[in-house]
Each structure stands twice: as C-alpha cells, then as structure tokens.
C-alpha cells in the first residue's frame, strides 16, 4: 500500500499499551493529516507521552496499529531507522548531547545517519540555528545555554533531519515563564510553514491559538476531541470540564 497525501500522514487505530500490569493506553485512535497541528492535553499520567513515544517506536504497543505515511510502525520487520528519519521528536528535558556544541548537535545526525556532505550540512545547520534565533550560540555547549536556548537547539537538531512530522512532548514544561514564549514562537513559525506537528502541552492558550484539532486524554482513552473553537467553548464530558476549569 502506498501512501498519498490525501490520506492521514499518521493514523493511530485502537492502540493498546501496558507497562506490566498497568494498562496505560486503552484503545486510542486518532488521525493526523499532512500539515495539521494537533494538541494532546490531559491530566498527568493519562498516557500522553506514552502515546507520542509509540509513534516513533520508542515504545512498543501490545495491540492496534500505528502508521506513518502508510508504514506500520510496529511491524517487527520494520527498519526503525527509516521511520525515525521521517519523524522528529523534541523532549521536555531537551536531551541535547552535552559533549557537543550547539552546531555539532544539529549537524551530527545528518552527518552520521544520512552520511551527507559536511560543508552542505554545516550551511544548513547554521541556517537552522538562525531560524530558531540562536545566531552567535553555534559554538556554545549545552551547559552554557539557558533552558529556552537549549530547547530551541533541540528543535533545530530535529529539523536538521528534514522530518515530515514533528512530535513535541511538553517541550515548555521545564522552562521559566519568560523563556516559554521564545520556544512557542519557534513552534508557531514551524506550524505556519506547514510542518505536521503533534504537541503534548499544558499551554492552553497556545493550544487554542495554534491547533487545528485538540484531543483530551484521561486514563488511557481519548475522552473528547474537536477543533479549538468548539472544544474550549462546548466541552461536554464532565472530566474535560473539570480539567479545563482547573487549568484555565
């Protein structure tokens, strides 16, 4: 089966995932079209991180199917590296490589994984660093950068692989309120350029502004979803209403 852009770029169908006896995902389904931005919100421990980690195969699943551009992620014969070249991921704790400078962090994957030409990779990496507004920090080590700067470096590092989809797992949760904005602006730019994004976030205002579709998860299921206009005004499920009343 070949994938065409009119089909969902990511299709999650009835995914079940357990850690030992603990069932974390109890049948989750959602579709994302190319260029769409979706936000996943929900209380702590509801399985948001687990869900997006399943999309690039960092977690395996016990049931159901996840496809990315028509490729079944949990096919045991799948070349995981091929999948991960299409899917970029940014983590809450940045997870930059501390022994490499910002520029080297961005250049590493294209050089080692894609085996591309160094001069060209460097030129693109410098452009990416500029794009996330970090000119002048190319030669700084992660330990010398602020949280917000590290997170933007991490975004540039993912973008350097030229992915089709970006996953963001609470990327602003570890930042101070003042630096949150600079990271959100970077993500907004990306979304505006048509990057397909899946964001787990607690920034409701941002979700409202940026998302095409919002999913609310609780205890391993998607309780409710909809475009932000209707989702925030007319949430019907009592769990969603309780969550929103606490957070807004």
């Amino acid at each position: 089966m070949t994938w065409t852009p009119d089909q969902p770029i990511i299709s999650i169908k009835d995914v079940h995932k357990s850690f030992g006896d603990l069932e974390v995902l109890k049948g989750v389904s959602l579709d994302v079209m190319k260029g769409e931005v979706i936000c996943i919100i929900g209380p702590s421990g509801s399985g948001k991180s687990t869900l997006i980690r399943c999309i690039n195969g960092l977690n395996d699943v016990q049931g159901g199917s996840i496809t990315v551009e028509g490729i079944e992620v949990h096919d045991p014969d799948l070349d995981k590296l091929a999948l991960r070249k299409k899917v970029g991921m940014v983590f809450q704790q940045y997870n930059l490589f501390p022994h490499k400078t910002a520029l080297e962090n961005v250049m590493m994957a294209p050089l080692l994984v894609l085996k591309r030409d160094k001069a060209q990779v460097e030129e693109e990496a410098r452009a990416l660093i500029k794009k996330v507004r970090l000119e002048g920090k190319e030669n700084s080590y992660p330990g010398e950068l602020s949280g917000g700067q590290q997170q933007r470096t991490a975004i540039a590092r993912s973008l350097a692989m030229n992915p089709d989809v970006m996953l963001f797992d609470e990327v602003t949760a570890a930042l101070d309120p003042e630096t949150v904005k600079e990271v959100l602006v970077t993500i907004k730019d990306l979304a505006a350029e048509g990057m397909t994004c899946i964001l787990v976030t607690h920034e409701m205002g941002f979700a409202k502004e940026i998302a095409d579709h919002i999913y609310f998860t609780d205890r391993g299921v998607i309780v409710e979803h909809g475009p932000p206009s209707t989702f925030f005004e007319r949430a019907s499920d009592p769990r969603t209403r309780e969550f929103l009343s606490q957070i807004l």
Partner: protein
C-alpha cells in the same frame, strides 16, 4: 565546598530540620584503598624507612649483627633489587593492566549487548573473575597454561612471569568490565532516546554519544585498579617469579638469613610500592574531584 544552611552551616530557621544522612560518606566504596593511600602524609616514606631500620635494633638488642651491618647489606643489594626485582613488578603490572583493560572493555560492552547470550556470558565471566581470590586465579593459570606453545611450527616459550601477567589480568579485566558497564549505565537513558529518535543506530549511539560522555568518569576507577594491581604483584613470588619479594628473600638467604634483615628488606619493598603508588593515588583522587564537578 558549597554551604547548605541547616546541613553544613547554621540553619536560618529555628524550626526542626531533618538532616540528610550522607550515605556516601559512611559506606566503603571501591576506591577506599586509593583514598587511604592518597590521604597519607608526605613524610610516610621517611617513617617507613626509619621504622624498618630502627626496628631490628630494638627487637634484637642482644644480637651481634648490628643495624649498621643490616643497612649496609640492604645498600649493597638495593640496585639489584630495583633493577631485577621491582622493574619486573612494574612490567607485570603494566602488561596485566594493558591486557585487562582491553579484555575488560570488550567484556563490559558485552554486558550491555542486545544479544541475551552475549550479555549473560559477559556477566558470568565478570562475576566469576571479580569474586574469585586472585591467588587462586594465579595458580589455575600457572597450571593450566603450557610452558611452551607451538604456533605455525615455531615454539614460543611462556615464561612464568607471562603466566603471572595473564593471571593478574583476569581479575583486572572483570573489574574494568564493571567500570565500563557502570559508566554506561550512569548516562541518563534520555540520551539513548534522543539519539534513537534521531535515527542513530545502536552502535553509533554507543560510540558517538554515550561512551564519549562517560569516558572521563572511567579514568579514576581505572587508575585505582592499576594501583591495586601493582600492589598485588608480590603475589607472583608464590609462583616463583623473580620479582622484588622473591629476590629480597634470596638476597637475605645469601646474607646468612639474619632475622635482623627482615625489617630492612621488606620495609624497602614496602617503600618502593608506596613511592610508586602514592602519586597514582593522589592523581586519581584529584581527577575524581575534578570530573565530579562537571558532569
């Protein structure tokens, strides 16, 4: 050192504060010996020398053999003991460390292999050689290895001191294996996940991301094991290897086995080990402090 109110400085509150129990400061660690040696004062060698020369005078006051004679005998033998004896101890320690490090690095990587059987074998070999008495390992190697081996028609003899090298390298290998495993485990799993999500292969992740981050952390414990190994080389005298202790014994025999010689000769041996290992211990502790500040 950072001062923490209520822990290392006066608390700024008069409310009761539960002080943390500093586990690290109260439990023995694998570098205990190095820490102890590095903590000894600079005049320790002089003290060792003085005690070993004065002791016979006190212990054998009635004897006709004087301190002067014992000291003179030691003085005569000293160049020989150093050149023929201690040098061999150093050589054995260097070769055993070399082999132990290479084999230990391989075994340590085996312990984190994705292949279950490689992992189990590496774990078993590590535990076996880490927890067996060194002397037993030495004797087994001595008896198990042939005196000579035939490779492509040429006969290679295996002198006893080479068997000692192999025998001592085995426990070193096992301990280096643990150092490698522990260092790799000390890197947060988030680093593995970050490189996995960038489509790095496992091999690339290990060599490009994980090992460069924990390499420095392995150096102090590695040096610690070198010091322990060096101090264990006198075990080889039990195999008849002509190292410092064996030669000291032979030297005393040819000096008619006066008991007054025991302290000066063995004291000298102790001094040699101390002078060799003390700088290593100091450097180890200094490096450990330096590396522990920056992650």
């Amino acid at each position: 050192m950072k001062t923490i109110p209520g822990v290392t400085a006066r608390a700024s509150t008069d409310l009761p504060v539960l002080k943390p129990f500093d586990v690290a400061a109260h439990s023995p660690d694998s570098m205990m010996m190095t820490r102890w040696v590095a903590g000894l004062p600079w005049w320790s060698p002089a003290a060792i020398l003085t005690i070993s020369l004065i002791w016979p005078a006190i212990a054998y006051a009635q004897s006709s053999y004087s301190i002067g004679q014992a000291t003179e005998a030691l003085w005569r033998w000293m160049p020989f003991l150093l050149r023929e004896g201690f040098l061999l101890n150093v050589l054995i320690s260097i070769f055993a460390m070399l082999i132990g490090t290479l084999a230990g690095a391989a075994l340590g990587l085996g312990q984190i292999s994705i292949n279950k059987w490689v992992r189990r074998f590496a774990w078993f070999a590590t535990q076996l050689f880490r927890n067996s008495p060194w002397l037993v390992i030495l004797f087994i190697v001595l008896l198990a290895l042939p005196f000579e081996v035939r490779i492509f028609g040429t006969i290679m003899t295996f002198p006893d001191w080479w068997k000692a090298v192999i025998g001592l390298s085995l426990p070193v290998m096992a301990n280096i294996s643990e150092i490698v495993r522990g260092a790799v485990a000390s890197v947060p799993t988030a680093q593995w996940e970050a490189s996995e999500s960038l489509a790095f292969s496992r091999r690339q992740t290990l060599w490009r991301i994980i090992l460069p981050q924990c390499f420095k952390r392995m150096i102090p414990p590695w040096m610690n094991w070198y010091a322990i190994l060096t101090m264990a080389t006198p075990l080889c005298s039990l195999l008849g290897v002509q190292e410092l202790i064996t030669l000291s014994r032979q030297a005393m025999e040819s000096e008619n086995n006066h008991p007054e010689l025991l302290m000066p000769f063995y004291g000298f041996a102790l001094l040699m080990f101390f002078i060799y290992c003390y700088p290593i211990a100091r450097a180890t502790i200094a490096l450990e402090r330096r590396f522990s500040v920056k992650l």
